[in-house]
């Protein structure tokens, strides 16, 4: 199916829904509401076939270009129907699990993710391993046919709603760096897992800490090969820096659209124009990246440019919103004001999550500009 054709189908499908959940209700943005709505929308989209385009047939998809997934995400987030924070889970984790997972396991669990029956989370960061991911300390010890997992993960988004977690753990010697890491797909209901939500400054229970104590992980839940976790992680990060930014851009454009009526003077118009031009520059950049992905090449170091651009556009947009709302964000008590507060606060994380802007600038300067590594 062609992107334009698919877009038309998705649009008319959305227009035809009379379900209240499919109407724009962006201000009720608590995590429970968001996830309930997404679950319902995903199920309907799956049943209509729309959720399945762009995914391989062997895992419940209908095949076709990955561009179709970008189109679906763009149409949904571009109308505020789903939140980019939660619509990203299958896009970020799905491709790597499909690529590296045991086919029988993937065939069983991935369709559930696609259908919205379950959500997944990403157990990478730890209290002492954020930007320096290669120094992570969670361990997995082989015991016969299973692996025994111990350690702590931090900043794991939606772990308290997740059925499964992609976990990176050290299977090599301590100090083996990125070489001694393996990746696992862990069921969150396994005994020994304790999830503690952390409230964000946006007053949302989004991310969590997860404690693993002697958690038994079946051997067929290893992703890839032992000590091959770094490749899996790179695959996940590559997806994080590619397809999901496209829909984040659509989400930002949707918010800019909500501000357009507030423009009163030259200064407001300039704020809107500046936010729009950064979004457009990102869109132009990301268009090339999406086409590259559709051609079968995962984004490499160049995608750090996309990440820096979208994060900057994100914060510029919500800073502009704050000014254009003329104090509504700071002192308004309406649900709409609360939603702008949440979104503004969430935008502050844009330069942190998925690899900080500093890490991205390191990649740009070392890999793309060829500057020497420092001490």
């Amino acid at each position: 199916m062609l992107a334009a054709e698919f877009r038309a189908v998705v649009r008319s499908w959305i227009d035809d829904q009379d379900d209240a959940l499919l109407h724009d209700r962006w201000q009720d943005g608590g995590v429970d509401v968001l996830l309930t709505r997404q679950r319902r929308i995903q199920r309907k989209l799956f049943d209509a076939g729309l959720m399945r385009w762009g995914w391989p047939e062997r895992v419940g998809g209908l095949g076709g270009s990955t561009v179709l997934r970008a189109v679906l995400g763009e149409e949904l987030t571009g109308r505020g129907l789903v939140h980019t924070a939660t619509w990203s889970m299958h896009e970020v984790l799905g491709p790597a699990v499909i690529e590296y997972g045991e086919p029988s396991v993937v065939g069983e669990v991935f369709p559930r993710l696609l259908r919205g029956d379950e959500f997944w989370c990403q157990g990478f960061s730890e209290p002492d391993a954020g930007s320096d991911l290669g120094s992570l300390r969670a361990t997995a010890r082989r015991a016969g046919d299973t692996w025994v997992l111990n350690g702590e993960k931090l900043w794991t988004s939606f772990a308290h709603h997740a059925s499964r977690c992609v976990v990176l753990a050290r299977t090599g010697e301590p100090g083996s760096g990125s070489r001694g890491i393996s990746a696992f797909l862990v069921d969150m209901d396994t005994p020994g897992i304790e999830v503690r939500p952390l409230r964000t400054m946006a007053d949302v229970d989004e991310f969590c800490s997860i404690a693993f104590t002697d958690v038994a992980v079946p051997g067929d839940r290893l992703l890839g090969v032992p000590e091959g976790g770094w490749r899996v992680a790179q695959h996940v990060l590559s997806c994080e820096r590619g397809p999901i930014f496209w829909q984040r851009g659509a989400w930002l454009a949707y918010h800019l659209g909500r501000l357009i009526g507030t423009a009163r003077d030259g200064r407001s118009l300039a704020l809107i124009g500046e936010a729009y031009q950064l979004l457009w520059a990102f869109r132009a950049r990301s268009m090339g990246t999406q086409r590259q992905i559709a051609g079968g090449t995962l984004p490499g170091h160049e995608a750090s440019v996309d990440k820096i651009m979208i994060a900057a556009a994100d914060q510029a947009l919500f800073d502009a919103a704050r000014e254009l709302l003329g104090g509504g964000m700071e002192i308004g008590d309406s649900p709409e004001s609360a939603a702008w507060r949440r979104e503004w606060a969430y935008s502050r994380a844009a330069t942190i999550y998925g690899g900080t802007s500093e890490i991205q600038k390191d990649i740009v300067s070392l890999r793309l500009l060829g500057l020497p590594r420092g001490g």
């Binding site: 992107a3 334009a4 877009r7 561009v67 970008a70 189109v71 763009e74 496209w246 454009a253 949707y254 800019l256 659209g257 357009i260 009526g261 423009a263 030259g266 200064r267 407001s268 118009l269 300039a270 704020l271 809107i272 124009g273 500046e274 729009y276 031009q277 950064l278 457009w280 520059a281 990102f282 869109r283 132009a284 950049r285 268009m287 090339g288 999406q290 086409r291 440019v305 820096i308 651009m309 500093e358 991205q360 600038k361 390191d362 740009v364 300067s365 070392l366 793309l368 500009l369 060829g370 500057l371 020497p372 590594r373 420092g374 001490g375």
Partner: protein
């Protein structure tokens, strides 16, 4: 139609010409090559190749006039041996027409041998009209030295009798087309200048040793160059996609604004990285800086265009995607 290999060859030839020649010589080389003709066939290849190369090498030519003339083709404002006047810095149009007298205040970039006449977009009773000014001797043409004497910019002023040659919606449409074409070309030229500034600063950061190591190994220095590179990449992408965008006028404004923004960010960071060396007259940096600062001022600057873009969006009442996957 040209095939892919021919287009690649075209781009490479134009790049080489801009590198080998400058000023009147480059104009002659482009005329001999038939730039105005290839512009009609493949503008999306010819404009980027030539103007980015001119920006990168610092060369000048009259090619902008060919670019500005193209959207006028087939209208009453087109003609042989004429040059298009651009609005002055900060101005919307190049003058005003009242009672068959036009008061001109505009800028002229892209000197061929003295043009037989100027054409100018001017305001007339609140609308855009095009006037032809055959008596160039009656106008004051001041060659602009200013910050970038090598650019060959001239300021044209004066009051002369004139009739509108193109009026109404056709005149407005012609002007929007000319402005869009000009913005894109100038955007590519600034992009080329930004690219060259980044190359100069990156090379310096790799080789200049302080505290026993290349200064480019310090993160504070590296991150400045990364910021410059990212701004440049954004402008390059916006310029590239402007050829596919649904709204040419808006896409060209965005591209010009982003190119000006990228040139400013690049100049700031590269100047700092080049430090004392970049402050000298013998180092080429200042020429790219000057070129970028002056080009930014033509047809709307990075400081002014965002408000114009915002006004277009507010008038439309929506946020256009401009290009789809």
């Amino acid at each position: 139609m040209m095939d892919a290999a021919e287009l690649t060859m075209l781009a490479s030839t134009l790049g080489q010409l801009a590198q080998s020649y400058d000023g009147a010589q480059l104009t002659k080389a482009l005329d001999d090559f038939g730039f105005a003709e290839v512009l009609q066939v493949a503008p999306q290849v010819a404009v980027p190749a030539l103007f980015e190369a001119m920006g990168r090498t610092g060369s000048t030519s009259a090619a902008l006039q060919d670019v500005l003339a193209l959207p006028l083709a087939g209208t009453a404002a087109s003609g042989e041996a004429q040059a298009v006047l651009l609005p002055p810095i900060g101005g919307e149009l190049a003058g005003s027409l009242v009672a068959e007298t036009v008061t001109v205040r505009g800028l002229f970039l892209g000197q061929r041998s003295a043009p037989a006449c100027f054409v100018a977009p001017v305001s007339s009773a609140g609308q855009t009209a095009w006037v032809r000014l055959p008596d160039t001797a009656a106008l004051t043409v001041r060659p602009v030295a200013g910050l970038d004497p090598e650019l060959g910019l001239a300021e044209v002023t004066g009051s002369v009798p004139a009739d509108a040659v193109l009026t109404g919606e056709a005149a407005g449409q012609a002007w929007r087309g000319v402005a869009a074409a000009g913005r894109r070309a100038l955007g590519y030229q600034m992009l080329g200048a930004a690219s060259r500034m980044i190359e100069l600063a990156t090379e310096h950061a790799r080789t200049r040793v302080q505290f026993g190591r290349p200064v480019g190994s310090f993160q504070a220095v590296r991150h400045r160059l990364a910021d410059a590179f990212v701004a440049r990449e954004g402008a390059a992408a916006a310029l590239g996609l402007s050829w596919e965008a649904g709204d040419e006028e808006l896409a060209a404004m965005l591209a010009k604004s982003l190119a000006g923004r990228a040139a400013k960010i690049t100049a700031t960071h590269c100047q700092q990285v080049l430090a004392g060396l970049g402050f000298t007259s013998e180092h080429p940096f200042h020429r790219y800086l000057a070129r970028a600062l002056v080009l930014d001022r033509l047809l709307g600057s990075a400081a002014g265009l965002p408000a114009e873009i915002g006004a277009l969006l507010a008038a439309a009442g929506r946020i256009p995607r401009l290009a789809e996957l």
